[in-house]
Amino acid sequence: MPEITLIEAIRQAMDEEMARDDRVFILGEDVGRRGGVFLATQGLYEKYGEMRVVDTPLAEVGIVGIAIGAALYGLRPVAEIQFADFMHPAFDQIVNEAAKMRYRSNGAWACPLVIRAPCGGGVGGGLYHSQCVESFYTHVPGLKVVMPATPYDAKGLLKAAIRDPDPVLFFEHKRAYRLIKGEVPEGDYVVPIGVADIKRQGTDITLVTYGMMLHFGLQAAEEIAKEGISVEVVDMRTLLPIDKKTVLDSVRKTGKVLIVHEDTRTCGYGAEIGTLIAEEAFEYLDAPVRRLTSPDAPAVAFNAGMRDYYLPNTQKIANALRELAAY
């Protein structure tokens, strides 16, 4: 199997879905001639033309609102928000409109659309090109929220998202775009939405994570394996709906759990996973549920020292695992 980058996997998914289904089109800022500021849509404008790869004005409300209208009419829009940090103006369109369309119409209308957005820090983007915004949306019934960590999952999940009958937010960690390479089969496949994946088998501690943190988590697990600690790494891949069974099965096996995410701590995704475990696997626990997250400061600072202090990394995860192992 050829090895490709995460962003190449995303581009392949869109390319193949556009070739397969003429209802699929892309809209967003700079997605056309420029191919996207990260080049996620590179070459698609030339291949599919300006009606199917639409350069929009700098207007997030419009991008999402127009995508909703197109979806109502039967198209399959893939909207790109250039950075997740700039998705906030479209919150009303996403939460009040897309997420509630099926429900408010008692199933008469639906809103099958994908909103892709690069997220996450560690690339020198500062406060407003680094945010993780997933928890705003994992609170919203009616949305599906996906964050792949590997090229294989990215391609398969994006194809699943484009074919999904409901709105899907698809977050792509921008640091992973070119850093992370992996084998991706040629030809069509999907990774189903709502199914987590055990990326590493283990027996002592369950590490629940997603996105870029998966890679740091896997490195940390390798590091402390040398110390005789066996870590099972669960990659959520889909954040909403939650694959409860995979998480709970792993925790019941290991009895200890560390939840890691790059987003800030309070009311973050880990709070939900921790509560799920406390409610449904309490009697299997040998230690308190632990979280390692970015601290409750607004966002990733630009200064390298401040940034490294702020973001979780391999070393911080390894230390948290050691503490948990010793409990």
Partner: protein
């Protein structure tokens, strides 16, 4: 026809804009039906017989019927706003369908008991399900128009809103995109001079919403929203233009709501009684009736007959809605997703 109806002393404008006698009479029927419904619901609310609230179209009937009548019902897509009672009726919503949400009944086509009144969504009629956020339907209508152009379908996308919505970014972002791509959408602003209590002078520093069309490279048309024939004429032009592929139009109907914003509002805080009384003189039902009488299509007897028929229709709908089944409480959990 009676003797009094033969005396034609008003120029028959409706024929010049392509409306037959049957058309203009149907338009007047829709206006009266809307008014009858509005008055009835207002009274039911005041009497404590329905929960929630009522938001009426009283005063807007000509703007709504005149504009909506210019679209191809059953073909075009509609994105009305909460005040669009007459819009919904003109598209083909039945009085029963309009009334079911007031009782939260299972059969309510807008949401099966989930939505409050005034949300009009109806798959059968291509009326898109609305939220209660103001102006959010504007980019949806633009997206529908984009999709129609994408597919090569000769449909036109309707969207209506009050002037209050035009302060929102959704308005700007939607019209801007529609202008850039010359999309088949007609924007209908019902400017009734107040966003609840805030007068236009505190909403915008210019006289006309339609003047903003220049920013989006589309025609902006100001029309007397109390004149159902004029509203029809300018909207028909815009709809034809859109269907030909010549792009969008922004129409501003200058109108007035004759009653408070909703049954929960008290307009005495912000409007003088003299101002309201002056606009009552220009009540679109009154103007349309005078026109019909002037061209010899109407008289007292027909008026009474129509009013009776409308009230009967509304009361029949009420009787139906009062006994219509509620949704199952557990259905509040669905449908969140397709599966």
């Amino acid at each position: 026809m009676t003797e009094t109806m033969t005396a034609i002393h008003v120029h028959a404008r409706h024929r010049e804009v392509g409306l037959s006698d049957a058309d203009i009479l149907e338009m007047y029927r829709l206006m009266v039906l809307c008014r009858t419904f509005d008055e009835h619901m207002w009274h039911l609310h005041r009497a404590g017989q329905i929960q929630g609230l009522h938001m009426s179209a009283m005063g807007h009937e000509a703007a709504q019927v005149g504009s909506t009548y210019a679209f191809q019902r059953g073909v075009d897509y509609f994105n009305p706003y909460y005040r669009g009672v007459a819009t919904a009726l003109t598209v083909g919503t039945t009085v029963r369908e309009l009334m079911l949400p007031y009782y939260g009944r299972a059969e309510d086509p807008s949401g099966g008991g989930r939505q409050i009144m005034g949300h009009y969504g109806n798959r059968r009629l291509n009326i898109v399900a609305q939220s209660s956020s103001v102006g959010t339907q504007i980019p949806h209508a633009v997206g529908i128009a984009f999709a129609a152009k994408y597919r090569g379908d000769p449909i036109v996308s309707h969207v209506s809103f009050g002037e209050g919505a035009t302060s929102k970014g959704d308005f700007h972002e939607g019209l801007n995109f529609a202008g850039i791509h010359k999309l088949p959408v007609v924007f209908i602003c019902e400017n009734n001079r107040y966003a609840i209590s805030v007068p236009v002078s505190r909403q915008m520093p210019i006289e006309n919403v339609a003047d903003r069309a220049a920013c989006y490279g589309m025609p902006g048309v100001v029309v007397d929203g109390q004149d159902v024939i004029e509203v029809y004429r300018v909207t028909k032009e815009a709809v034809d233009r859109a269907r030909r592929g010549d792009g969008p139009t922004l129409i501003e109907c200058k109108t007035y709501r004759l009653v408070p914003h909703s049954t929960s509002d008290d307009d005495r805080f912000y409007r003088s009684r003299e101002e309201v009384a002056a606009w009552r003189e220009r009540d679109p039902l009154r103007l349309t009736r005078a026109y019909l009488e002037g061209v010899g299509l109407w008289d007292e007897a027909r008026e009474a007959q129509l009013r009776d028929a409308c009230l009967r229709e509304v009361k029949e709908a009420q009787a139906y809605c009062e006994q219509a089944p509620d949704p199952r409480p557990e259905d509040v959990l669905r449908p969140v997703y397709a599966d």
